[in-house]
């Protein structure tokens, strides 16, 4: 099992076999290079752990535990886990500030604990088979010993073709479950399993209590202080630390905080696209000059993306609806080639501080829904999506008709996500009739509403939108396909200071208008970074990171070889997931360059990636 995870930990393997348990670990050495090998145990060797990730506050935890009499035998962050468990039992996890997937074995109690970080940064999968529990950081480690799981799960596929990633605990493999973020799974000696949520995104009821700060100025001071501390903690490493620089506010802010408040030298990395529509290199270069960092730019062509795609899907272990993860995988390769194992990124700021267009779009649609006949209210939609060549708001009247759909869902907690999910779900029309019949009636709106906290309707509308976004797109797709998986593909660890849980909890308590002021997104974050960044970066409207989609798989009208093969009618029919005739028409449309909208591109990339998944893990498995 463990050798399938070599890319996550190329620096060595470690094992512990006890009565009833086997733990294995592949190490990526970042902290305590000399003595930090895992598994790690407590003083009496009664508690053992293997974990993937980082405990950023281990220095403080260690000092506190030593004061309480605990004796450490390494300098690693891992060791605080076993001592915290000794002291606090299952609540040990509440003391951790970090990104982690932990397996902990309590030999005396004969119980296994699996724990995952609050935001869902590090993956952790498990399944029950042959009278045992099996777990691993990636699904391929399970498939290595459980070939019966090497089949695609229809429900997981449908969720991915709707929410962009499977809704935990589902995965796209049969019987394989993802431990949800912020959860702890205890497996007792008798096999009893208890899943406990120890943390969740939570927001105050609207109007229930006064704002936690007298003014936005006071909150900004506190935010700056928290940002500095989050960056300071996440710079902890015994290897040099790099950073991604997209040219936007978030990653620029992280690098500026490193430069302004620490002595740590930082090397920066960015992606430039040959396609001007996606390229942000002008802004990246401006930031490099401002921050005076040693910088590497990876230039990425459509062909680079297309050719990297099969490797990408081997790492994502799920279909993707966009190619955007592929350049990030190529970027982490450049990071590794430069001798770096760790990068800080700006991921998370949009979810925490309300940065995405979907939040502004929902704000306008809610405002509009109060007077559906109003033309000028809906014209505000024209302020969004200016970065798109084929903007959905290119024609105001048509945009009104499109975004006006679903206004009847105004009172529902998933209101903001109705248009996006409707667009993504158009890909389901390509499923084979047999597969569609096996799904039966499935309403994604009701499905997601059942997952929301009981008090969600008492929160502000923005808070509800943030919650759904953090749970669906961020945890299931961004932190996985665009985060952990594409960094770890090249043995690189991504770190996300904006997802420090103290920052999330701080931001969640703020009034919504401090996050989105009018239509100015991330208002308070801009205030907190004021003075650290050039004014044009501070004021720059968010441009989401995107890459060329269906066009990446064709040279002119010629498909790449693997694309021609996998999208052929014979292969599609043999796999059985899709309607070969319908996909053939979509293929022709993409080949002719006539697929300009999101829906067609998402469907094409989703279908191709599903076929690759089938090819990689089911038809020609290399993991066994």
């Amino acid at each position: 099992m463990i050798t399938t995870l070599h890319h996550r930990g190329p620096d060595g393997y470690g094992f512990h076999v006890g009565q009833g348990v086997g733990l294995a670990h592949a190490r990526l050495s970042i902290i305590d290079l000399a003595t930090g090998d895992q598994p790690i145990h407590n003083e009496r060797k009664s508690v053992w752990t293997v974990f993937n990730g980082e405990i950023f506050n281990y220095v403080e935890l260690r000092a506190e535990l030593q004061k309480q009499g605990h004796v450490f035998y390494t300098q690693s962050d891992t060791e605080v886990i076993v001592h915290l468990y000794d002291r606090y039992g299952d609540r040990f996890v509440e003391h951790l500030n970090g990104q982690f997937a932990i397996a902990l074995w309590d030999a005396e109690a004969g119980r296994l604990l699996l724990a995952r970080d609050r935001a869902g940064i590090r993956p952790l999968f498990h399944t029950s088979a042959r009278g045992r529990i099996w777990f691993g950081s990636e699904i391929k480690s399970l498939l290595a010993v459980l070939p019966e799981c090497a089949a695609l799960d229809v429900q997981g596929l449908v969720e991915t073709f709707t929410f962009w990633g499977p809704a935990d605990p589902d995965s796209v493999f049969r019987g394989v479950r993802s431990l949800p973020p912020g959860h702890l799974l205890a497996i007792e000696r008798d096999g009893t399993q208890t899943l406990t949520r120890y943390w969740d995104w939570s927001f105050p009821a609207q109007g229930a209590s006064p704002p936690p700060f007298a003014s936005i100025e006071d909150a900004t001071v506190e935010l700056r202080s928290l940002l500095v501390d989050a960056v300071r903690l996440q710079l902890r490493a015994d290897v040099p630390v790099g950073a991604y620089l997209s040219g936007g506010l978030d990653s620029s802010g992280i690098v500026a905080l490193v430069r302004g408040f620490t002595e740590t030298p930082v090397r920066t990395f960015s992606i430039a696209f040959e396609d001007a529509e996606f390229d942000e290199s002008e802004h990246q270069q401006a930031m490099v000059r401002h921050l005076r960092t040693e910088h590497t730019t990876l230039r990425c062509s459509r062909r680079d993306i297309g050719e990297a795609f099969p490797t990408l899907i081997r790492h994502t272990e799920a279909p993707v609806l966009r190619t955007a993860p592929a350049p990030l995988m190529l970027l982490s390769r450049a990071v590794k080639a430069a001798g770096y194992k760790v990068v800080l990124t700006g991921e998370g700021a949009d979810e925490v501080f309300g940065g995405y267009d979907i939040f502004k779009e929902a704000k306008i649609r809610r405002f509009w829904a109060r007077q559906p006949g109003s033309k000028w209210r809906s014209h505000l939609l024209g302020r969004l999506y200016g970065y798109l060549r084929h903007s959905p708001v290119g024609s105001p009247a048509l945009a009104q008709a499109f975004f006006g759909q679903g206004l009847e869902h105004l009172q529902r907690p998933i209101f903001a996500h109705v248009p996006r999910w409707a667009t993504s779900q158009r890909a389901l029309a390509f499923l084979s009739p047999e597969l569609r019949a096996s799904i039966g009636p499935w309403d994604p709106l009701e499905f997601y509403e059942r997952r929301l906290p009981a008090d969600a309707m008492s929160w502000s509308p923005l808070a509800r939108d943030q919650y759904v976004e953090a749970k669906s797109l961020m945890a299931a797709y961004l932190l996985s396909a665009q985060g952990d998986r594409v960094a770890m593909a090249n043995s690189v660890e991504g770190r996300f200071p904006f997802l420090d849980h103290r920052l999330i909890e701080f931001a969640n308590r703020l009034p919504p208008q401090w996050k989105i002021r009018g239509l100015r997104e991330k208002h308070i974050l801009r205030c907190a970074l004021d003075g650290l960044l050039p004014a044009d970066i501070i004021e720059r409207t968010k441009q989401p990171y995107r890459a060329p989609d269906a066009q990446s798989f064709f040279t002119g009208t010629e498909p790449l070889d693997f694309v021609a093969d996998l999208m052929s009618a014979d292969r599609l029919r043999a796999a059985g997931y899709f309607d070969a005739a319908a996909v053939g028409r979509l293929f022709d449309k993409c080949r002719a360059g006539r697929a300009t909208g999101f829906a067609d591109n998402q469907a094409f990339v989703g279908i191709l990636s599903t076929m690759l998944l089938d090819e990689t893990f089911i038809r020609r498995p290399s993991h066994q």
Binding site: A401, F402, R585, A599
Partner: protein, 88 residues
């Protein structure tokens, strides 16, 4: 290209079936069905339709004509093409 209403209708139906519904089954497209309400097109899908109408029926769609009521169903598109050709 010169064509009467039935040819216009056939052309539009064929285009939508082939390029937006990805099927050859004509029963899946009612001429009076709202393409937006049925989720067949989003606003970029309507832009594709406009491009098709301009290229195949030699008409020019003005910005002021970019209204859902002109493009939301096969019936509406046929009427729009006929009206526009008569005016040009």
């Amino acid at each position: 290209m010169s064509s009467n209403a039935s040819q216009i209708r056939a052309g539009i139906r064929s285009y939508i079936l082939e390029n937006l519904l990805f099927t050859s089954n004509g029963a899946e497209l009612a001429d009076d069905a709202s393409l937006l309400d049925r989720g067949i097109v989003d606003s970029t899908g309507v832009l594709e339709i406009v491009l098709y109408l301009e290229e195949h029926f030699a008409i020019k769609v003005k910005d002021s004509d970019m209204l859902p009521e002109n493009f939301d169903s096969v019936d509406n598109m046929v009427r729009f093409v006929e009206r526009t050709r008569a005016a040009q």
